[in-house]
């Protein structure tokens, strides 16, 4: 794939994701008056996006198998996505299928939190291979920025929560999300910084880093609001999670397309070039 082709390939993926998020945003605005409709729309859309990401992860697992670093790290990615998909389905059941009030923390939170372990393995194992190419000052800037943002947000959430309530499990979960997100952000951004000059290697990583950043921002703001104002209704966050899953699906699609050999496609291209 030439530099021009890789740029247009990346642009097309971004346009598709942006269009899907834009359509979702417009439909969401159209049904904003009806709270139940917005809930159904957001839950089902997020489930579909998570399912799309899981589909590409399983496709990679099928084609890549378990050999080599990518075999292991992408298998872990698929496990993480499977856990998050289950969490989304459970959450949807609580919000749409059940008459009872949505518990917090719930079983869905257990699946979400558990999902961070395989995601962490995927990111840190890949970063470990490339760590010698990392520039120390970039690592310092990424660590300092992440620590400054999340290090100030977590104590604020704890202080605000302790003034308002004594629900320790809820507080733990509220703090766990941004903390674990921060842990994922560092290797994701470092990987992008190492591969950014590569026309192919950078494509999946810019999408994955963007996905983790968006989910981290949504988790942190959501956690802060639900800790400081537990009775307030939180609307509109679903678009961030939807974008996060779609970017993840995009990253997996690009890896599948660019870094797993497709014999039939290669034969087709060769035949076209040698007509």
């Amino acid at each position: 794939m030439s530099a021009t082709h890789s740029t247009s390939f990346f642009r097309n993926v971004v346009i598709i994701i942006a269009t899907l998020v834009g359509i979702y945003g417009l439909v969401y605005l159209a049904v904003l008056e009806d709270q139940y409709a917005t809930l159904v729309l957001s839950d089902l859309s997020i489930n579909a996006a998570a399912a799309a990401a899981l589909f590409f992860a399983l496709l990679i697992l099928y084609r890549q198998k378990l050999g080599g670093l990518h075999g292991k790290t992408y298998a872990a990615f698929a496990v993480g996505l499977a856990l998050w998909f289950v969490a989304e389905v459970v959450q949807t059941y609580y919000e749409i299928g059940s008459e009872e009030e949505v518990p917090f923390p719930s079983i869905a939170d257990a699946f979400w939190l558990l999902g961070y372990v395989p995601f962490g393995y995927h990111l840190f194992a890949t970063y470990r291979l490339f760590v010698k190419s990392a520039r120390p000052h970039t690592l310092f800037v990424v660590l300092a920025t992440t620590a400054a943002v999340f290090g100030s947000l977590v104590p604020v959430t704890i202080l605000s929560s302790s003034l308002l309530e004594d629900d320790i499990p809820a507080l733990f979960v509220n703090v766990a999300y941004p903390t674990l997100d921060a842990a994922l952000i560092v290797p994701a951004i470092m990987m992008f910084s190492i591969l950014r000059k590569g026309k192919l290697g950078s494509i999946p990583w810019v999408l994955l880093a963007a996905s983790i950043l968006i989910i981290a921002a949504a988790d942190s703001i959501f956690g802060y609001i639900s800790a400081t104002s537990p009775d307030s209704e939180i609307w509109g966050f679903s678009i961030f999670y939807l974008a996060g899953y779609l970017l993840m699906a995009g990253a997996l699609y690009c890896h599948n397309r660019l870094f797993i050999f497709d014999r039939s496609r290669a034969v087709r291209i060769w035949q076209e070039q040698n007509k």
Partner: protein, 108 residues
Amino acid sequence: MTVVRELAEITSRVLSSLGEPTMQALFWELSSQGVATSPEEFDIRQFDVELRKIFGDGANVFMEEIYRQFREQAEGETRNKEHLVEIDNAEIPPIDRIQRILALKVMT
């Protein structure tokens, strides 16, 4: 076995650490960019240039590993180990170190 073939085999081994399908995809991409990837015609300098276009600074990881394995093999074959010590300079890009060993092996 020719020196170039040895180097080509080490390169395949290093890239296959990512997984066989990834190695094949990389070789396909490299050969479509004009890199001679067959063991007889393998061109490590051209490979280095194109690998950098794919991975950016990340290509260094693979080139360093190719150098390490190639040097290890050369160490077992050469009597003039002081030449290899001279080449061992982290300041020199891995591609230049590989080419110096290549020259050394061809001469001996």
